[in-house]
Symmetry: C2
DNA sequence: CGGAACGTTGATGTATCTCAAGTGGGGTGG
DNA sequence: CCACCCCACTTGAGATACATCAACGTTCCG
């Protein structure tokens, strides 16, 4: 063993924390202590690997929190006729409540192979009860999710197809950058055009034509599931994208009503 | 003063509670004690009257909770070009957080004249902290709102215009019945066809034609801002409406992650 | 009685859907 | 290593739901 190897080993724990997108996300939303980060690393250490196109819920009946560590998942609703509406994307670092307290289920499916952690109900309740920085950060995520959902409503309800994708790509770019999963101008986007259609309320044929239009407008390239943003300003302008809804304003309040 | 007058006075407090839609809504979502109901009546006693077309936020900078007691309001998002997307309706009994912790505002506007109560941040925080039935019920409302938003996404993203309205009318009927503001087959629906268009992502002209289609299908009548449901089963079938997302399943969990 | 806001109707344009037939690439089995 | 296959992507043509523009009717209120 060389000296450099032992140095690497010493640095291993913080490096793992940096690689854990759940920690990376939450530390932007609250002042996490070293213990908080350690705790988050511990409770998400037990992971499951699932393939693309799998349903994650209802899975573990006693589970409290489902955390995506790698890959893309989504929440969706199926219509009786079979058509599907994706209601949110879950990218690494995102989580959702694995309970179903309402009389209707909102399934979670994978859009790519995923690494997922389940945090038990008892564990997460204890953390929430303690009311520390983690609890605060998790409350912030629910506000951001709510705002994101409302933005999607504007997107689908009021914007033309190319504007919808411009907005979506800007949102994904921002979210993925926040957890270190986007390069300067590109990121991996594993969903199919079929999935994109179910996200935007469009047919997959029209998705294809819209993407071609965005390519022709010199805004993006998309090849082999890698999206490259050629003109970020242009894409933001077309999608009317303002990242404000994805970030907390100033110091987060000590309490949230949720 | 007659005897009957004093009897009426004796009965006044419970009668007021029954008339308070905030209490009526929350008591369906948690086991409120008599003290809880009294407390809710007290904290919403200080009301403001606002006309239609007014903005409610940002209004009281220190406010914690905005509660609609009479009338319809909505949350909406304006696009730079001026077009509007309504992201949720607020009917009597509904509330929202009057804070704006995110870097983007989501205004609340009235769709009719409204009676509104502001509950101070300190008051509501104390209630949330105490963790009683009221806190529990309020947490449930956020779950229901989230589920409702996702249903709207399906509505706008995947359903034809007549199906959208069928779903919306079923939802409103269910919500208004829960607070005693719908008759057996009709309720007051004060928004204009313009507002309905901004809700469903449709032009107001198409709203008008869609409503005519629903009338022609013998499903509803709509005159003078009163919607009458002629065929509830038919309307539910057309809108694929399942009220499950508006109700808690079984006994609400003692804790919610939110 | 007049005006403003809301609702209705018609004509025309267009974004998006549906149906249908390819193309391309990456994995698998022979 | 090649052939094949499957799945995603692409392209074309025709249908349609919805938007836009413009005019007119109606109701309500001052």
């Amino acid at each position: 063993m060389s000296v450099s190897a032992s140095i690497q080993q010493l640095a291993a724990a913080p490096a793992l924390e940096r690689a854990n997108p759940f920690i990376r996300k939450l530390e932007r939303l609250g002042e996490l202590s070293a213990e908080d980060r350690m705790l988050l690393a511990t409770i998400t250490a037990d992971v499951i690997r699932v393939e693309a196109g799998a349903d994650l819920l209802p899975g573990e009946p006693t589970a409290g929190l489902l955390v995506i560590l790698e890959g893309f998942a989504c929440r969706y609703i199926l219509r009786p006729g079979g058509s599907r509406q994706i209601t949110s994307y879950m990218v690494p670092g995102d989580h959702c409540d694995a309970r179903e307290p309402l009389g209707v289920v909102n399934p979670v499916g994978t859009l790519s192979a995923c690494t997922v952690a389940f945090v038990s109900r008892e564990t997460i309740f204890a953390i929430i009860r303690a009311g520390g920085a983690i609890a605060q950060a998790i409350r912030m995520t629910t506000l951001i999710e709510d705002a994101t959902l409302r933005q999607w409503l504007v997107n689908i309800g009021r914007r033309a197809s190319d504007e919808r994708f411009a907005h979506l790509f800007c949102e994904l770019y921002t979210r993925l950058r926040a957890v270190g999963l986007a390069n300067v101008d590109s990121f991996r986007m594993p969903m199919t055009q079929f999935d994109l259609g179910d996200t935007m309320g469009l047919s997959y044929v029209h998705v294809n034509r819209t993407l071609q239009s965005l390519r022709q407008q010199q805004l993006i390239t998309l090849k082999g599931r890698v999206l490259t943003i050629l003109d970020l300003r242009g894409l933001q302008a077309l999608g009317e994208f303002d990242p404000g809804y994805l970030t907390v304003r100033g110091r987060p309040a000590a309490f949230s009503l949720r």
